[in-house]
């Protein structure tokens, strides 16, 4: 059974940005199977403009699959998903439209190793938004400056540390000026010193009002930034609440078990 908590945070450490009325992501009755394996069971989720959602749960619970369904890296078999008012079907044009508005940051960065940092960031604006190279590169430099990595612009990804690569990956997604950012365990492949620098960038993004869906195990980040924390297990949304309530008063037994294991 899923609880739907109200999204407007009232904790003292919540960023002051207001949540809009516009629905950015709407998932209704979404089911997904990998062959016989039922990986997403009856997912119902509404994400409003400016909301920051953190999805947590044990491995194999379907968290990554859920957000990958939003930009069609995974295909759902039942139910409906619509992103920014565009329905997600097999129509390639709609899928491309949605992908332009949704930026994704992966656990293993997935930077293009044969291109420099600047080229990585400018690629999509040049080829998808048809911008001129000079304009795209200029804009890429502003985003690289924002994530504090402008001095590495001409290096190749292989020459950077993990934390630097992930910040470049975030800048790369931002260069398309997306309306929604998806984060698939962005800090799970980093060592502790680098996690902090990436989380700082993500907090900065959140404070700027970006709509974010973040799969992560970083509960500190969730407490600081999230409007809503969603707990998933076995393909279902078990509990959904705003962070303070979620961490201090988990209602579901399964949630309580999970939290007791990770918050010690």
């Amino acid at each position: 059974m899923s609880d739907s908590g109200n999204g407007s945070g009232n904790g003292a450490d919540q960023p002051k940005f207001e949540i809009g009325q516009e629905t950015m992501v709407q998932m209704d009755g979404v089911h997904k199977w990998y062959g016989q394996f039922h990986v997403l069971k009856d997912i119902n989720l509404t994400v409003k403009h400016g909301e920051r959602i953190v999805i947590c749960g044990p491995s194999g619970s379907g968290k990554s699959t859920l957000i990958r369904c939003i930009n069609r890296l995974e295909e759902h078999q039942q139910g409906s998903i619509s992103v920014d008012g565009i329905e997600l079907t097999n129509d390639l044009k709609k899928i491309d439209e949605i992908r332009r508005e949704v930026g994704m940051v992966f656990q293993h960065f997935n930077l293009f190793p044969h291109l420099t940092v600047l080229e990585n960031c400018a690629l999509a604006p040049i080829w998808v938004r048809k911008m001129a190279r000079a304009d795209a590169e200029e804009e890429a430099m502003t985003f690289l400056t924002r994530v504090q990595i402008a001095d590495q612009a001409l290096k190749f990804p292989g020459q950077l540390s993990g934390g630097q690569q992930q910040r470049v990956a975030i800048a790369r997604s931002l260069c398309m000026n997306p309306k929604i950012m998806l984060f698939d365990e962005p800090t799970s492949a980093l060592d502790p010193e680098m996690i902090k620098e990436v989380l700082e960038v993500m907090v900065g993004l959140a404070e700027g009002g970006m709509t974010m869906l973040c799969v992560t195990h970083e509960m500190g980040f969730a407490r600081q930034v999230a409007n809503r924390v969603i707990f998933m297990d076995g393909g279902e949304i078990i509990e959904e609440n705003e962070p303070t309530e979620f961490f201090t008063n988990p209602r579901n037994e399964r949630t309580q078990l999970f939290l007791s294991q990770i918050l010690h």
């Binding site: 992908r99 997935n110 044969h114």
Partner: protein, 378 residues
């Protein structure tokens, strides 16, 4: 260990002075070091080194004697060779232009030279990093070059006499077939590889069927089939040029092998690269062109160049269908009564010529890998 070598923590606990760089010991670098590591690193290796030197002593001097010391290259008849007893390079000298240009009329050799220059010139231009306008050069090589080169070699216009394709022979024919085969089979192989990985079942089955059929059959059979079967598809009375049949056969054959090589490269690209390209909204062809193929082709450069070298050597098989390539030309020269007994020299010459070209391709591939930094960290 004396006290002076230990760090003095008492006087300077917080300042870290890095230890100075010392030079390595004399016996581990330079020529002595190289010999110790590579030739004499263990008793077994030392024994093998000694045996190797002995073997070289028995092999090298006789070869040098035969090929250089006792060899003859002067004159135009065999008397000098018979007298000296060593290699008869006179035979090669006399027949040299025949081996290279074949039956192509001597006055028209410039056409072959220009056609080859028109190909290798722009190719070299593309290889230099800083030259501008590479896009146009590549475009020229892709499309206009082929009809221009073909027309130039065939002739029949602007006062240039017509030279039928059966007269294209010798090493120039080898080069023509190899260059055409390599240039067309690589793009075709890439398309086949992409088609084989496609989600469309019909396309996938066609590509798999084509690749598996070609790979199951030797090149000789393909050449025979193209000689016999292709004319059957032609309307009545239209004959298919024999050289064209050979070119099609060689190209299709090579394309199937290229396809599998390229597919190996595509498989080696981590899924995350495809996903990142998709997530950014790139179309299929954009992600292939900008992200996947640059990485995949870089990975398989060694295998691709091996295929090219193999193709270059396989062109000799066209002698089976009656085209006169270098080896066939040497064969018929060797059968000439005037030079009886010296036929093997021709084959040695052919081997040297092939070695020069194949080795050049191999070195070029290493240069390319170095330049493209194929060992970059993922």
């Amino acid at each position: 260990m004396s006290d002076t070598t230990m760090r003095d923590y008492q006087s300077d606990p917080l300042v870290h002075t890095p230890a100075p760089d010392l030079p390595p010991p004399a016996t581990s670098v330079g020529i002595i070091g190289w010999m110790r590591n590579n030739l004499f690193s263990s008793p077994m290796n030392s024994l093998l080194t000694v045996l190797g030197v002995v073997a070289l002593y028995y092999i090298i001097p006789p070869i040098v004697n035969w090929a250089i010391v006792d060899a003859t290259i002067s004159g135009t008849t065999r008397e000098g060779c018979d007298a000296a007893g060593g290699a008869c390079w006179t035979f090669i000298k006399v027949r040299f232009w025949l081996f290279i240009y074949g039956f192509y009329p001597e006055g028209e050799w410039w056409r072959i030279n220009i056609t080859m220059l028109l190909f290798f010139g722009p190719l070299l231009y593309c290889l230099i990093e800083t030259t501008p306008g590479k896009k146009w050069v590549v475009l020229f090589l892709c499309i206009p070059y082929w009809p221009i080169g073909g027309a130039l070699l065939l002739g029949g216009f602007w006062g240039m006499p017509f030279v039928d394709t059966t007269q294209w022979s010798g090493f120039s024919l080898t080069l023509i077939i190899a260059v055409t085969g390599i240039s067309f089979s690589l793009p075709l192989g890439i398309l086949l590889a992409l088609g084989r990985r496609s989600d469309l079942p019909v396309l996938r089955m066609i590509c798999i069927g084509f690749i598996e059929f070609i790979r199951a059959v030797p090149l000789i059979s393909i050449l025979f089939m193209s000689t016999v079967i292709l004319p059957l598809f032609m309307p009545e009375g239209v004959t298919f040029d024999k050289l064209m049949r050979a070119l099609i056969g060689v190209t299709l054959f090579s394309a199937a092998y290229m396809a599998e090589t390229v597919r190996g490269g595509l498989q080696a690209i981590p899924n995350g690269q495809y996903e990142a390209a998709d997530a950014m909204g790139l179309t299929y062809w954009q992600s292939m062109r900008l992200i996947v193929l640059p990485q995949a082709l870089k990975i398989v450069i060694p295998a691709l160049v091996s295929s090219f070298i193999g193709l270059f050597k396989d062109t000799t098989l066209v002698l089976i269908i009656g085209l006169v390539d270098l080896v066939s030309m040497i064969q018929s020269s060797g059968a000439d009564i005037a030079w009886a007994g010296y036929a093997p020299h021709g084959y040695v010459f052919a081997a040297l010529l092939f070695f020069v070209f194949c080795f050049a391709m191999s070195r070029y591939s290493m240069y390319l890998e170095d330049k493209l930094h194929t060992g970059h960290k993922r």
